[in-house]
Amino acid sequence: MAKRRKKRYILLTSEPQKNPDHIAKAVLTSYKKLFGIFGLASADLRVIRNYPDKGMTILRCALDHVPRLLLAAAFVKRIDSEPVALRVITISGTVKKIKEKIRSLQS
């Protein structure tokens, strides 16, 4: 039986705070620019959840593509034609841990 691919969940935010939809879109565009359509397809990249009030987004990608995703996120310079820097808050194997992290940031 084929093994299920391991995934990682990445919590991202931007500085200054931006709409998480736009953050996720910027990361996907940047990933495609750096690694092409094939790279994007093999990364199995998905937007899991957005937190518009906190300006955070959770992305999911294949474990072996995490460095590529980090590089793509670091490569984002502008969102809505304004200069930004994307910050990776945490990387985890489960959404539960990511949510715990968001709760700990709130308190």
């Binding site: 500085e15 460095p67 590529r68 590089l71 670091a74 490569f75 820097a85 910050r87 990387i91």
Partner: protein
């Protein structure tokens, strides 16, 4: 535990430097190497104290852009004792060949799409480390990756590589994992890539701090007590 160091931050004023260092701390770095602007070059000790309050250790860096061999050697003679780190931006083959061998140079920066070929000849001579500033990647990703790939391919297995941010603005700063991801994408394993922002710069700083201390006599000779 790893101690992450950002090997190149450019700061023109003391306030700007402190603002940058606060972000550096937030991103998870424990140390930073600062290229001070003229206005803060004399008050670096004061800046060091302010950085310590932010929780970051800072070190002084000089980036040389020599025109040729003589210019480089003169600058090295004049400045080696004043800075913890000396980096040479190699804009031609002549300076690259000298900087690659000179033990007073700590790191070399090869600009994106250099106007010279670095091949086995340079690889055979090189003793110093190569630095890859992340700002070059943000400015022109394609040109930078082209050069970085060649650096890794030709020199990467022989010498150590350091990834620095090269930032002069808070938004150009990136976290240690993001900086290390550059080498991971270029074929290094995770631990090796993380070493490029932690152990390798730490080792360079450690060696140079010993050299700059009063107890240092000559290579391999230190005064004890």
């Amino acid at each position: 535990m790893r101690r992450f160091i950002d090997f190149w931050i450019k700061a023109e004023t003391a306030d700007k430097a402190v603002a940058l260092l606060k972000v550096v701390r937030k991103l998870g770095f424990a140390g930073a190497v600062v290229e001070p602007g003229e206005s803060i070059a004399d008050d670096f000790e004061e800046l060091k104290a302010r950085a310590r309050e932010c929780g970051v250790s800072i070190y002084r860096k000089l980036v040389l852009k020599p025109d040729g061999r003589r210019d480089l050697l003169k600058s090295l003679r004049e400045n080696r004792g004043k800075f913890e780190i000396i980096t040479v931006l190699c804009e031609n083959l002549e300076t690259a060949l000298v900087a690659a061998r000179d033990s007073r140079v700590d790191t070399l920066i090869i600009p994106p799409r250099p106007r010279f070929r670095f091949d086995k000849g340079v690889a055979a001579l090189i003793k110093n480390r190569v630095e890859l500033p992340f700002t070059y990647f943000l400015e022109d990703g394609e040109a930078f990756l082209e050069t970085a790939l060649k650096v890794v391919e030709v020199l990467g297995r022989k010498i150590e590589i350091i990834v620095s941010s090269g930032a002069s603005d808070e938004l150009d700063l990136r976290g240690p994992r993001e900086l290390a991801s550059l080498l991971e994408v270029l074929g290094y394993d995770q631990q090796e890539a993380l070493n490029s922002v932690s152990k390798v710069p730490e080792k360079v700083l450690e060696t140079n701090l010993i050299k700059l201390s009063k107890n240092y006599v000559a290579r391999g000779v230190i005064k004890l007590g």
